[in-house]
Each structure stands twice: as C-alpha cells, then as structure tokens.
Symmetry: C2
Subunit: 230 residues, 2 copies
DNA sequence: ACCTGAACACCGTTCAAGT
DNA sequence: ACCTGAACACCGTTCAAGT
C-alpha cells in the first residue's frame, strides 16, 4: 500500500492552533444545544456561538444543517440497547430493544422524518445496530427474506410511538364535540393506563399493547411463512 | 336562546366585496400548493400570492402557519376510508382503513409530527373517524379499556410506515460498510418484495407483514385480556 | 486549510394606516 | 371587519478576503 498521509503534529511555540472545529466537536455541541433548548435551539448560528466561531466556519466541516442532523442521529443510535440479541430469547431481546429505541427517539422526534427517509450509507453505528438485529433474528430461526421487513415493521411502530410519548395526556379530549362522538369519548375515559413506567401511562399502555401484539403476531407470520413456503 | 347574529348580505351596487378570504379558501389554496410543489411550497407568502392578497391578510383568519397545517390535516382526514366498519368483519375493516390511512399520509408526512402531538379538539372530521373506529371495535367485541390503546397502536404503526413509503428503494444500501455488516447486507438483498401494489414493493411488503402481525396479535391480546379479566 | 465578516434570499409575524 | 405596506427578528447558506 501507499504511505498514509498521517496528520503531522508539529508544536510551533505557544501560538493558537488554527484548527478549532471538527465533526465530533460539532456533534457534541449540537447535542448540548438540543438537551438544553430542544430542537428549536439547534441553529447554525447557535452552534457557532456555542463553539466560539463564525457561522460560516461550520461549512468547512459539514455541507448543511441536514448533515448536522445526520451526525446527531448516528451518535444517539449508540444509546439503543441491542444487548439482548444473542443473550436472551428472541421476544425478550426485541422487547428490550424496542423500549429503549422508543425512549431514545422520543427525545429526538425531529430526527424521525430525516432518518426514516435517508440512506444508511455512512452511518456506522446505525448499521451496527441493524447487523446485531439481523444476527439475532436469524439465530432465532427467522427466514432471511422476512428479516428486513420484520425489522422495518417494528421500527415503523417504534417511530410512530415515539411521537406519542411527547403528546399531552389530554390529546383525545374532544371538548364541545364530545356529545357528537359519544362512543369515542367514553372509550377515552375508560382507556387502560397501566403497563409502563410513570411519565406517560396512556402512551405506555398503547405501546405495550401494540408491541406485545406485534411480537406474537410476527411470530405467527413467521410460522405461516414456514408452512406455505415462499 | 338569544337571536343569532347571522351575516347580513346586503348587495351594495357592483363595488368589490371587501371579504376575500376565509378558512375554507385558505385550506383549498394550501392543498393546491402542496399538490404542486410539496410542503416546501407551502409558505405564508406563497399562500397569499396564490390568493391574490398580502401575507398579513392571512392573519385575520388564522393565528399562525401551524393553524393552516391543522386545517389541512382535518380536511384530508375525510379521505381515510372507514367504510368497512359496520359492513365487514373487524379484521377486513381494519385492513381497508389502515391501507388508505397510510396512503393518505404518505403524501403528507410533514403533518405527522404535528397531528401526533396535537389535541383533537376542533378537528371534527378527525373525531368522526375515531367515532367510527370505536363503534366498529366495540361491535366486534372489544373491551372498552382496550379500544383507544389498540387504535393508538395501529395509528403509530401507520404513521411510521407512511414515512417508509417516501423512502428511496436503496435506503438500506450499506455501501463500503457492507463487508463490516455481512448478515444485514445479505438480508437486504434477500428481502421479500411482494404483498403490495406497484410503486414501493419493499415498503408494501413490510407494511403488509406488520399489519397482518398486528391484526392477529391484537386479537390475541384481546383474548388474553378476556381470560385474565382486568 | 481553516476562519472572519459581510451579504443574500428567504422565512413567519406584527402593526399602524387605510377603507 | 378586513386588507395593505412597511418593518422586524430571525433563518440557512455563499463567498471574497484574510492568515
């Protein structure tokens, strides 16, 4: 192979280094801004201010704000818990993964429209998650053609459910239209609230119900695939 | 009751009427802009231009752009097909509803973050859909406490899946990282593509698998609720 | 190679002034 | 009551100029 051009670090006195920024520094600053002020606070000028730099300087390291969102996305994907695959039964591993995945993205819902549509090329942590998942599905006896559709189905449910977590508890109050919609209004009052932790009992109950349904229903789809052949 | 202040229409010669705008006119114009140029084209000034009016005039009828999105949302909700409930078996009705719901919102994904988080008060068509759904679930023997969680679970899956429809077919190409993620790359190549119409075979296959899984899995959850009691 | 400063082409929204 | 026109406080992004 040809010699690699390794960056030479020649310390020239105490004068200030010219390189201040990097993709990593931008990602970290973005996460701080989001944590403190939400996605409204994530602006290119806010990022620049936080890094002590002019906004235009950012464009030496990222091509656009969209690029920043992708960096953030791949970074937080490492917080999704895939440890169950290979260690626990399939359904237990899916359960652990799904709850942690929803938890992570309920804090980052503005990323969902971005990642659900974006090629996974160049998102190494995201790919690593998919590799773990695939491995776990295959080891549990899933036929290869169903693995990706099953993962996508679960992921779609998780993304949709992440929005729910941030919804106010009174989202289904029908107000003065209650009398015109009596059955729905009654069902809202009667709805189940258990099945989860503290913060959002109704969202948790719906997520638990859907997830348990998906887990058993997908297993049934797998069995009927095995019976029918392709 | 007190006398209602009905709008008097006094025709004063042929001089131009002063009222040009209305919520309805704004909604229709918004739908036209979205249809021709997508949600990027939906700006307050674009709306005003299309209606032959100054941008500030819009604020006599809506409080914000967010308001416009809500008008659009409730308008298109009427396109979701709930005709199966009361006419077909529960699973068939859910199938018809779910496919049409995904179809409608795959054209309007920018609405999803808005509606998933917004109180349903003052969205009459949306409430009417929920009333139909509730009625159908109850008639099929669903226990009242599970109706809303089941609807929310299905809706979450549908919203997440609506994003998938707009994703490029090569979204899972791992590029040069393919060798580092061999099982996933192979599963992507082997994935099932049937189970839907023409335009997006892989998204359709995932949606079909997840929906069929959810339908049978939710029915199982319903049975186990009946067995356990509350 | 990397950063600064000024500028550009937009946004959504407000508000005094007109009729 | 409803619309106009000007203004405000932002956005993300570009680009010549500096070192």
């Amino acid at each position: 192979m040809t010699a690699e051009a390794a960056p030479r670090k020649h310390r020239t006195a105490g004068r200030p280094v010219q390189k201040i920024l990097s993709k990593e520094a931008i990602t970290v600053a973005a996460l701080k801004l989001i944590a403190s002020g939400g996605y409204d606070a994530l602006t290119m000028s806010g990022l620049a201010r936080h890094l002590g730099v002019a906004p235009s300087a950012l464009y030496n390291h990222v091509a656009s704000k969209h690029d920043v969102l992708l960096l953030v996305q791949d970074h937080i994907m490492a917080n999704v818990d895939v440890s169950g695959f290979g260690a626990l039964p399939w359904d237990e591993a899916v359960r652990r993964w799904a709850w942690s995945y929803r938890e992570v993205f309920s804090q980052h819902t503005p990323l969902i429209p971005v990642i659900a549509v974006l090629p996974v090329t160049g998102a190494p942590r995201t790919l690593a998650m998919y590799e773990e998942l695939t491995s776990g599905f295959l080891a549990a006896g899933w036929p290869e053609p169903l693995v990706v559709p099953a993962i996508v189905a679960l992921e779609s449910f998780i993304f949709g459910s992440a929005f729910d977590v941030t919804a106010p508890e009174d989202i289904f109050e029908s107000g003065e239209l209650a009398k015109a919609n009596p059955k729905f209004s009654a069902a809202v009052r009667a709805r189940q609230r258990n099945g989860g932790s503290a913060a959002s009992p109704t969202a948790d109950a719906a997520f638990r119900l859907g997830l348990e349904g998906l887990i058993s229903g997908l297993e049934e789809q797998r069995r009927s695939w095995a019976a029918h052949g392709a």
